[in-house]
């Protein structure tokens, strides 16, 4: 008979307590601060309860940030998945096993770059005079200047493309590997069933991979929420507020422009609640 031992408890409890403290204390502290009126410029504060939240709903810059965040989320997640599936299928169809390995290696490199480095690399690539990404435009138009990062209409997409460059290519490798794990017979059966190449993927392989693809999409959705470093380096939320996502705005309210720590905290808390609710609902839907 194995004796009930206190050993597992001894090992697990301290770690769990540390984890709990690390995750819960900052969260609780953020909630408490959000209910106060702290500012960086003074030590005096009092409880204002929900007035910070109330103010947020009349702050046009906040509403803009919400809209930019939603746009950012949609653009990056959809573009990443499209690029990943497109490239993954293309490699599966057209590349020899040897070339697949070469592409996989190349496609993993961008995601290994630290975000800040990737942001700097592309910031320079988008440079209107010297950048390699704008070079074709200069060549075609005979030297006209195009600065994608300083135009409100293109800035968000220019930054998003860096995110897609990092994650879309990486996910393409995962999609390829997923396709390679599929049994070949249903694909062969589909070929005998008069399915064209694209139809085989649209009707057979990709539906067979639905569960892992949805998981990938969730990973990307969560990852896209953490866009701060990329946007901070490339545009700082500009031009104007064109790329100012919620975390950018919260940061500038809290630490750069006005030092309204409580106001920024309220935004963070709201973001957390919205994220938790959205993801729980989405997850439940997918599971059903």
């Amino acid at each position: 008979m194995p004796r009930r031992s206190s050993l597992p408890v001894t090992f697990i409890v301290p770690t769990l307590v540390i984890l709990l403290i690390l995750s819960m204390v900052p969260t609780l502290y953020a909630i408490i601060i959000a209910l106060q009126n702290r500012e960086l410029s003074s030590t005096a504060y009092s409880y204002v309860w929900f007035s910070n939240f109330y103010d947020l709903f009349f702050d046009r810059r906040f509403l803009n940030a919400v809209w930019v965040s939603v746009k950012w989320e949609f653009v990056t997640v959809i573009a990443t998945m499209v690029v990943a599936i497109g490239l993954g299928v293309l490699m599966f169809e057209a590349a020899s096993p040897r070339m697949r390995n070469v592409y996989c290696l190349l496609f993993i490199i961008p995601v290994l770059l630290p975000r800040v480095s990737a942001a700097f690399v592309w910031k320079f690539a988008y440079h209107p005079l010297y950048g390699i990404a704008t070079y074709p435009y200069r060549l075609i138009t005979g030297g006209l200047i195009f600065d994608p990062l300083s135009k409100p209409a293109t800035a968000l997409f220019a930054v998003a493309s860096v995110d897609v460059w990092q994650w879309g290519l990486f996910f393409a490798v995962i999609v390829l590997k997923l396709l390679e794990t599929l049994p070949p017979q249903p694909i062969e059966a589909a070929r005998l069933d008069h399915a064209k190449r694209w139809q085989i993927h649209a009707y057979v392989t990709l539906p067979m991979l639905k569960a892992p693809l949805v998981s990938l999409m969730f990973v990307k959705m969560i990852e896209s929420l953490r866009s701060f470093d990329l946007i901070y380096v490339m545009t700082r939320g500009g031009p104007g507020v064109a790329t100012e996502t919620l975390d950018m705005y919260a940061f500038s309210q809290g630490f750069i422009e006005s030092g309204k720590v409580s106001y920024a905290s309220a935004m963070a808390v709201l973001m957390m609640i919205a994220t938790v609710i959205t993801f729980t609902m989405l997850w439940k839907r997918v599971q059903a």
């Binding site: 062969e188 059966a189 589909a190 070929r191 005998l192 539906p207 067979m208």
Partner: protein
């Protein structure tokens, strides 16, 4: 007109040739079985007919049309795979209808044809289910329905029963035989199971190492095996082989082996004096010798008796070789007793020891 003609067909993977210079013609409405041990190239050949493998050399034509460069979908064939290869995310209805949808057949016609096919195969209660909710036998029936609905010129079966248990395999084998009787579509069927081959085939194509060893009806292949390989491969329990030396005597021929000698008339065979040969005799063709008889005896001590029900397989050693005799279980000797068996010359097979070719007169 022949339904399928393969002329000088080769298949190579890099430097390895798996099929070389294969010639075969399959008639319309025929049920042909490719039979052979694992790795003999039978599945590869079938997949080449289907268009799932490139043809390295030679020409394959189906229905009078060369199909070497045609897509699998355009060859007028339908295939049933060993592991069913159903689309796991689709309902049974969608699985069966998939090919018709791709061909843009009108919806009403699809509905009608799926219903007709599923009725034939007894699948109508399951049309709304997913493949994983069906048993192996039902899944294979769906795969057959998916092939049938396309009304192909040729059915290809790639070991369709190998994943089923023994009882279901018998049942499905009968269903496939019935199906062929009613549809009468040209069928090519790959298996390593000789029982399936024997019971289903109009003609068996026996393959080894990418070459055809013999083509013939099941009876021909069983009764007149062309060489040692065919003789050893076909028939359960396996044929007994005894190395002998042939010599001419006054009233016929003797076949001598260090342990024993047989006298035969030899008129069925083309024999030469002093030739080294292999004598083959099937276990069911051995019968208990009469007590006084001394002609053509195979005698020894029974060291293994396998009870099969109606029959029993008696194994004994003769000149260092194991010999088996299939006898009625009622006349079965007890283990470690002496046994004496003899045979009729009409059931004897003789093969050239060097080439393995049968010595039977054509």
């Amino acid at each position: 007109m022949s339904a399928i003609v393969c002329s000088h067909v080769d298949k190579a993977y890099g430097a390895t040739t798996v099929i070389r210079d294969l010639n075969l013609s399959i008639e319309e409405h025929e049920f042909v079985v490719f039979l052979g041990p694992s790795g003999c190239g039978k599945s590869t050949l079938l997949r080449m007919l289907a268009g799932l493998e490139d043809i390295s050399g030679g020409e394959v034509s189906i229905g009078g049309k060369v199909v070497n460069d045609l897509d699998p979908g355009d060859r007028g064939i339908a295939m049933v795979f060993q592991n069913y290869a159903l689309y796991p995310h689709m309902t049974i209805f969608d699985n069966i209808a998939f090919g018709l949808k791709r061909q843009k057949v009108p919806k009403a016609e699809i509905q009608q044809r799926v219903e007709a096919v599923s009725k034939t195969l007894g699948l109508d209660p399951y049309l709304g289910r997913k493949p994983t909710e069906l048993s192996g036998g039902q899944q294979q029936r769906v795969a057959i329905a998916r092939a049938m609905i396309k009304t192909p010129k040729v059915f290809l079966f790639d070991e369709p029963l190998s994943n089923l248990d023994a009882k279901l395999r018998n049942h499905m084998r009968i269903e496939i035989a019935r199906l062929h009787q009613s549809l009468n579509t040209t069928t090519v069927y790959v298996t390593h199971d000789q029982l399936e081959a024997m019971t289903l085939a109009d003609r068996i194509v026996l393959l080894r190492d990418g070459r055809i060893e013999q083509i013939g009806s099941p009876a021909e292949i069983y009764e007149r095996p062309a060489n040692l390989f065919v003789a050893g491969f076909i028939g359960t329990p396996n044929m007994n082989f005894i190395d002998v030396t042939v010599s001419r005597v006054a009233n016929g021929w003797t076949l001598t082996n260090p342990g024993t000698a047989f006298t035969i008339d030899g008129s069925r065979f083309t024999l030469q004096d002093g030739e080294r040969a292999v004598l083959g005799i099937r276990p069911p063709d051995l019968r208990t010798a009469t007590p006084g008889g001394s002609e053509n005896l195979l005698a020894g001590t029974a060291d293994l008796i396998e009870f099969h029900g109606n029959d029993a397989l008696v194994t004994f050693a003769l000149g260092g070789k194991e010999i088996s005799a299939l006898v009625s279980s009622r006349a079965c000797p007890i283990i470690r007793s002496d046994v004496r068996y003899t045979f009729d010359e009409s059931s004897l097979h003789l093969f050239n020891a060097a080439s393995g070719a049968s010595l039977l007169r054509q």
